[in-house]
Symmetry: C2
Subunit: 236 residues, 2 copies
């Protein structure tokens, strides 16, 4: 007789949660929502949802992300599977956490009003449900790790950006100051940036030249091993 299922084993709910990073030119931010159902209705939470039949974890995370931001084809990476038996008090629920990097200028505000979503500065995160605080801690750590060797932070920037903006971003991610001269030398030496003729005149009299990513080199070098940060600090 053919087996039809694995008998005597317990099944559990599986959800995805998204840690959504954005950068407004000054600060690194996270997109959070107000949870719309019990338990913990009305409290701040990461955007998430249950994995549906026929859906992989990755496509589930993509679906959830599109629901909230309207965006597709964004940078999305699996962070960690959270499986503490009591992380959700109502019923055992595993959560596969993903982190996303989006260009904050492309995100559609109207969608997020439905979820009462808001951008929070990373230094000012409110109290969150379940283990979402821990998820964010790990996401920050992993972003630091990744960005030290791969040009992943460009995913947070618009098509045109300035060197001071880029340095702001790196300084925000690593919560430390960098030397302007050494920073631009290192970044430019990767050959990833193409200088534009236009300047950004906001926020300075002299204006700062715009740069664009060399998309071809970017794709080619993404998995190569560059070094964007001297010492990424103590990271796992």
């Amino acid at each position: 007789m053919e087996l039809k299922r694995y008998n005597r084993q317990n099944r559990m709910l599986v959800a995805v949660d998204c840690i959504i990073f954005g950068f407004d030119g000054q600060q690194l931010k996270l997109l959070l929502i107000k949870r719309g159902f019990e338990p913990e209705q009305g409290r701040w939470s990461l955007m998430g949802g249950f994995v549906q039949p026929g859906e992989s974890f990755e496509s589930s995370a993509q679906r959830v992300l599109k629901q909230l931001t309207g965006l597709e084809n964004v940078y999305l990476e699996q962070l960690y599977a959270f499986g503490d038996p009591h992380r959700d008090p109502l019923e055992r629920t595993a959560s596969i956490a993903y982190f996303a990097l989006i260009d904050i200028s492309k995100y559609e505000k109207q969608l997020s009003s439905e979820y009462h979503a808001e951008w929070f500065s990373l230094k000012n995160i409110p109290s969150l449900i379940f283990d979402h605080k821990e998820m964010i801690r790990m996401a920050k750590e992993k972003l630091r790790y990744k960005a030290a060797f791969h040009p992943v932070l460009f995913e947070l920037l618009p098509a045109k950006f300035t060197l001071p903006q880029l340095q702001n971003l790196y300084e925000g991610v690593y919560e430390s100051m960098m030397d302007k001269r050494n920073f631009s030398r290192k970044i430019l030496s990767t050959g990833l940036l193409i200088k534009q003729k236009q300047k950004d005149k906001e926020g300075s009299k002299k204006g700062a030249f715009y740069y664009k990513l060399d998309k071809k080199k970017y794709r080619h070098l993404f998995n190569a091993f560059l070094k964007f940060v001297p010492d990424p600090g103590n990271i796992k």
Copy 2:
């Protein structure tokens, strides 16, 4: 009225699978078992098991690992959550993959006979069930990444080991040759090794001095950022 469960959502099985690395002094190896139940009974497989009620993913992996090797307190790290809806043809089953690094000399052979377990050279892995081949590919990649910056490969070695053995290990992990002089200079400069007065006389007339890990420095430096490998290659 209080909610008791999340209604109208589908639950699924969740398992853990362990990619178990060992090093015999010459080659990097993986411990595989012959699957003992249907479907795919009798085929080669990673050691795994279903996550039980009340058990976290990590403790589930520890349990599975102890069942097969008799070992506790081994290096264990979550690799990735595999969730393709059809990865197990019988029933939807998620798998949280962990990779383990064990000292091959400590592992208890008698236990593994129960599971028909065998060590396989990484270059000679047999056909495997489900997505286990992909799990191994990712585990190798992650081990490379990790070992490039953290002294994690010492987990594979016995308490006393020689520099040539250590270099063999690194060369096995990176599938490339390294210069003896540069290798020992780099490794010794970390201050992690304590030279012993004894020599290992196996395999050479002159004999090679044993070294021990400085456990205190090891724990202290583990998350620090050392550089053990010149260029870890193209890795995610």
